[in-house]
């Protein structure tokens, strides 16, 4: 397709420019804006109205001059050259190397917007991933091919948690028979966080398995819209064409959504809640839904997303819409963090929707589903008693309530608060049973007598 070049634009507004008097331009077309004495900028056609072509410039319009702008339309949508040689490399959101090494040359390229997976081609994710973290493995099991966000608040140790997962998670078979890669999409990250992740990859010996797409807080917001798409286009290639198990880490989706709002305001779209565009659900879905497993490929895309809840508000549109799309969420809790509990996972609020098919007999262990149900139920009751005790005093509780409350305390103290230690699923299950042994048998309505007989430790063998 021949390129078309036009000199001059009619409007410049925020990150948008309008080019007139040109025909044959495609919706979504990729373009480059050449400037005098400045590096060129890249863009995309967002809408076309008769002669007017409305364009988003990824590096913004600052210091561009109306008559000086020369727009070169490429006659195709934005593409990314993909190759296994990307592994171990660092790119910006446009796919340009940031590590001083040469560009990626490949015969293979992909449209970065992706195409929806045909639901009849999906394989339902079933293989659990041992993260070594009890509250995740036992209560909110992560499954290969799942998309799971971490809802966090400013100052909570979400990065530390991701670090622990990267360090401990068994994503592939341990015999090295499977290929593994991490694709990291940094969206609006601060330098500190960026360095944290770089160090993490280095320290865990995964650096040579990581592909990084980096958009820092100081980089352009418009470009941030591309970061996850670049990351996922690469991940799809590795997973579905090259049979890699890919762990995609996106951080932080809140920065992405803010960029989305900024652009939508510039486009004068009707806002819905808190000024975010009505299409934010669909837009986020076009990112999150790219996780999964498909037929005729050995690979998988598992997605872990950092999401900072503005003001710790879970009803804010960003966590809200995300929760409606992802397959569960891990919520970090400020009060637990303040009490020194790590990882401060809010067990009751967290959820893994794919857990039900990935645990139990033939997967983890046959007692796992009931054990986790029972821990949930008793912990929830214990927490009720804690609020009651706050009103009437602990001593005023009846015996049963006191037992439940001590259970909840103990649960947080030893089960949630595991620190940086790695626990195998087996160990976590045992710990769960030890905790249950603190309760009278009448409380154990979710575990059958059979399971109790097989798995409940006598007081002497108890780990506690």
């Amino acid at each position: 397709m021949a390129r078309i070049t036009v000199k001059g634009v009619s409007e410049i507004k925020g990150p948008l420019i309008v080019v007139e008097g040109v025909s044959g331009i495609q919706m979504g077309e990729y373009l480059v804006v050449n400037l005098e004495n400045q590096p060129s900028r890249k863009g995309r056609v967002l809408a076309i109205e008769e002669e007017k072509v409305i364009i988003l410039l990824y590096q913004g319009t600052y210091e561009t001059e109306r008559d000086e702008i020369e727009t070169e339309f490429y006659g195709r949508t934005m593409q990314l050259f993909v190759s296994e040689t990307m592994i171990g490399r660092i790119f910006n959101s446009l796919g340009e190397p940031l590590d001083g090494l040469p560009n990626i040359y490949s015969d293979d390229y992909r449209d970065v917007n992706g195409t929806p997976i045909n639901p009849t081609s999906r394989i339902y994710p079933k293989n659990y991933i041992e993260t070594g973290i009890s509250t995740i493995d036992i209560m909110n099991t992560l499954v290969r091919g799942q998309k799971l966000p971490i809802f966090t608040g400013a100052g909570l140790p979400n990065n530390q948690l991701i670090g622990q997962i990267v360090r401990q998670a068994k994503i592939t078979e341990q015999d090295g028979s499977e290929k593994f890669a991490i694709v990291f999409g940094a969206m609006g990250l601060t330098m500190d966080d960026y360095i944290y992740f770089q160090r993490l990859f280095k320290e865990t010996g995964t650096l040579n398995k990581v592909i990084m797409f980096s958009n820092l807080a100081s980089d352009s917001a418009a470009e941030r819209l591309l970061t996850p798409r670049m990351a996922l286009t690469t991940a799809e290639y590795l997973a579905f064409d090259k049979d890699y198990h890919v762990l995609v880490i996106l951080s932080d989706i809140t920065n992405y959504c803010q960029a989305l709002r900024e652009i939508s305001v510039a486009l004068e779209t009707v806002p819905s809640r808190k000024g975010f565009p009505g299409y934010m659900y669909s837009d986020l879905a076009s990112i999150y839904e790219r996780a999964g497993i498909v037929e005729d490929s050995e690979g998988s895309i598992t997605m872990i997303v950092n999401l900072t809840m503005p003001n710790d508000d879970i009803t804010h549109p960003i966590p809200d819409l995300t929760g409606y799309i992802t397959e569960g969420q891990i919520i970090l809790d400020r009060s637990m963090h303040n009490r020194g509990i790590y990882p401060p996972i809010d067990v009751l609020g967290s959820l893994s929707r794919l857990m039900k098919d990935g645990i139990g007999e033939g997967f983890t262990r046959k007692d796992h589903p009931s054990l986790s149900d029972q821990l949930y139920a008793s912990y929830a009751e214990g927490l009720d008693k804690r609020s009651l005790a706050e009103v009437i005093g602990r001593k005023e509780l009846n015996r049963r309530d006191q037992v439940l409350l001590s259970f909840a305390d103990k649960f947080e103290e030893v089960f949630v608060n595991q620190g940086n230690e790695h626990k195998t699923i087996e160990q976590s299950l045992e710990l769960g049973w030890s905790l249950l042994s603190q309760l009278p048998e009448t409380e154990l309505t979710k575990v059958s007598e059979d399971l109790i007989k097989t798995f409940m430790k006598s007081k002497e063998e108890n780990m506690l």
């Binding site: 495609q26 008769e50 081609s121 949930y376």
Partner: protein, 600 residues
């Protein structure tokens, strides 16, 4: 003669999921047009002077100004005939399996055109033996039948608009959906061939003879629904709830276990994996009422969240039209839509592109009217044509309120049009109390109808049990407020007993795990007897309490644990075991009474 660009229908602007075009040969609202060289499918949704706005059911990338527009003269229609069952379609009825065959890839590429129904497959058609040559055929008359799946014999009916004399009808034999099976001479003397399939525009409700009041329950096997907030065949229900509160699981449960004849499941802007879950799970399951494979009565419509938003808007209409087609054959159809909020958002998005004035949170003013229209298509009817047929459509729809706030426009508007409301409660969901239907905010508008039905069906105690359990939960709720302030120790024994019974009801009766092999479906008889046993325990315990028995003794009875576990411990095929539980309760109570010298 080929027209020059200036003359031909062509695109003049492209934005979001719509294009504008001019020079169309006709400007008809709702007309399907092909857009661009790739012939993307679109529908005319607005006309202003010579400019028509077309919503396109596929991504617009790559389209250009001046690209051609091809008219079809048709409105967005559903193909109705054998081949729908056990199939999965996208929002505009393209079969996803066929798309896979065409693309040879795991992804849905653009510009794929395919028929909804397989044109090559032959079906065994059996003509209606009562039909004679020369007889008058009207819309809805039975022409014959095709045994489509193990569960469903599809009735081949004359399309609703037909009127004429029967000229010929084919013999029993194998036919594709487009081969003529009968010929009719219409009043204007023109002939029309009838086929196994016909088409119907999805935005227009199919006609019927008369609406009828609903009369019998849809049995779902879900206790809190069947016993507390039941729905009738032909009824409507909304399931609002924040993310993760259990809407989808509940709709999967309804689709699996309800005693409907045909189930249409619309995945409207939700997760791809959830559709896969159905696709994999249903064929392994058996309809508990007919013992046939579940898939044999199921039709899936999947327009998942990252598929084009315009097709998401259409998917709801596609689903309800297919539902009406089976209703018109005399079936009871259950339509589940997950989620209508995503459909409303699609409306909002398209409305925004039309630059319409939004009213609330960006939603267009006609949101309420569209919802009303949709729910109006549910109900119990007498179908057109002979033989006499009654059919029903149930609509159960998930609503995903922004921020979990039920006062937002979609939930608020939906509430105006549905009779049953299953409000999901995040507090219950967080403690893994599922289904998380809140028993105070939910309601059913069908209680009276079902009470009458229960009386006639040998379930005389249904209303009474229900009321008694409710009363206990109500009292428990009041007591909980007190407990929160002073603890339960300070309550008198009879009130502490209420707390205990309410706990049994919540854990042992209302909670029902969708994933438990036994408890996923609970037969009505078991539901009734579970209530009976709980009340038996309550009444006997009450007498003990009145005689001074301390509550702690009752709390630690084995019966309590048994009552909480009977849902899972008693197999559905062997309800006799419930007798033993009854005996056990009696014996434990008597023992307690005699041991401590209480009168029982």
């Amino acid at each position: 003669m080929s027209k020059t660009l200036e003359e031909g229908a062509r695109i003049v602007s492209i934005k979001g999921s719509t294009v504008q075009a001019k020079n169309l040969s006709s400007y008809r609202m709702g007309e399907i047009t092909f857009v661009g060289e790739e012939r993307l499918i679109g529908e005319i949704i607005a006309i202003e002077r010579e400019i028509a706005t077309i919503q396109v059911y596929e991504p617009l990338e790559g389209l250009r100004i001046n690209d051609p527009i091809y008219p079809t003269g048709k409105s967005l229609s559903a193909e109705l005939g054998p081949g729908l069952l056990a199939n999965i379609f996208d929002g505009i009825q393209r079969p996803l399996e066929t798309i896979k065959d065409i693309t040879k890839s795991a992804f849905i590429e653009r510009g794929i055109q395919t028929n909804a129904l397989d044109r090559n497959k032959k079906w065994s058609f059996v003509p209606n033996p009562d039909l004679k040559q020369g007889e008058i055929i009207r819309g809805g008359d039975q022409i014959g039948s095709v045994k489509e799946t193990e569960s469903i014999e599809t009735m081949i009916i004359a399309p609703p608009y037909i009127h004429g004399h029967l000229l010929e009808i084919q013999d029993k034999g194998e036919y594709t959906v487009t081969e003529p099976i009968a010929v009719i001479k219409k009043q204007d003397n023109r002939k029309e061939e009838l086929k196994l399939m016909h088409e119907w525009p999805v935005r227009i409700a199919r006609p019927f003879l008369r609406k009828m009041p609903v009369q019998e329950p849809l049995i779902t096997g879900q206790r809190i629904i069947d016993m507390f907030f039941p729905i009738t065949k032909g009824g409507t229900a909304a399931i609002p709830g924040g993310f993760g509160t259990g809407k989808t699981v509940l709709m999967h449960q309804l689709s699996k276990w309800s005693n409907a004849d045909v189930v249409i499941y619309i995945g409207c802007g939700e997760r791809g994996n959830e559709m896969t879950d159905v696709l994999i799970g249903f064929p392994k399951l058996m309809d508990p009422h007919t013992k046939n494979p579940l898939m044999a009565r199921t039709i899936l419509i999947a327009n998942v969240s990252n598929m084009p938003v315009a097709a998401r808007e259409a998917s709801i209409y596609m689903g309800i039209t297919i539902a009406e087609y089976f209703r018109d054959q005399g079936f009871n159809v259950l339509l589940t839509a997950d989620s209508t909020s995503r459909w409303a958002e699609a409306l909002r998005e398209i409305s925004g592109q039309l630059e319409e004035m939004p009213v609330e949170e960006g939603y267009p003013a006609y949101l309420g009217a569209r919802l009303a229209n949709f729910y109006e298509r549910a109900g119990r009817i007498i179908a057109l044509g002979s033989p006499y047929r009654e059919g029903t459509i149930n609509i159960t729809a998930a609503v995903s309120p922004a921020g979990g706030d039920f006062s937002e426009p979609v939930t608020a508007n939906t509430k105006r049009f549905v009779k049953t409301f299953w409000g999901l409660d995040p507090t219950l969901a967080n403690r893994k109390h599922f289904p998380s239907i809140n028993w105070f905010t939910s309601y059913s508008g069908y209680i009276e109808v079902i009470e009458e039905w229960a009386l006639e069906s040998g379930l005389e105690d249904w209303g009474r049990y229900r009321q008694e359990l409710f009363t206990i939960l109500q009292k428990d709720n009041e007591l909980q407020h007190i407990v929160e302030l002073i603890g339960s120790k300070a309550l008198p024994a009879d009130e502490q007993l209420i707390l205990l019974i309410a706990d049994i009801i919540k854990t042992g009766f209302l909670q029902q795990s969708a994933f438990h092999p036994v408890d996923s479906f609970c037969p009505i008889e078991k539901q009734m007897r579970m209530m009976k046993h709980i009340l038996l325990f309550y009444n006997r315990a009450n007498i003990l309490i009145k005689n001074g028995c301390p509550i702690s003794l009752l709390n630690s009875l084995k019966s309590v644990q048994i009552l909480k576990r009977m849902k899972e411990d008693v197999p559905n095929e062997n309800l006799m075991q419930l007798n033993k539980i009854e005996d056990y309760i009696h014996s434990e109570m008597e023992e307690l009474g005699s041991k401590y010298g209480y009168r029982v």
